[in-house]
Symmetry: C2
Subunit: 79 residues, 2 copies
């Protein structure tokens, strides 16, 4: 079973990586970019039957820093 | 207009970050994790009317290293 975890900074938390990407895009001549936020994507290959609670616990304990980050879990259909 | 770009390592490319996460999850006692791959998520806030070709060019020129990474673009409905 596959699952994806998206980890993003909470609104209001400074994002220097996103700022750097934004600046670089402007330097390359891309107009019309208002804002860029950088986050993480973690793809998990899990044993069948792993439940959402277990994945959420993984996020809370390791994958995301819940003080400054939000996370979202997406389960993919079993291959 | 919002768009999300998902950048993932191509299959076969070594992923030490993913390996480290995998090892840490096992260390925390999570069983049943077969594999972990780490990637990036970039959220773009773009001017309305930015077309897919422009976003793809941003990916090819800056956001992804297409030698070792794949990218996927997801446009979100205009708020």
């Amino acid at each position: 079973m596959k699952a994806r975890v998206f980890v993003t900074l909470k609104p209001g938390v400074l994002d220097p990586q996103g700022k750097a990407i934004h600046h670089a895009l402007e330097g390359l001549g891309f107009a019309g970019v208002n804002d860029v936020r950088a986050g993480k994507l973690i793809e998990l290959d899990l044993a069948d039957g792993t439940d959402d609670a277990a994945i959420e616990e993984m996020c809370r304990k390791l994958l995301a820093n819940t003080v400054i980050e939000n996370f979202r879990i997406e389960r993919l259909a079993t291959a």
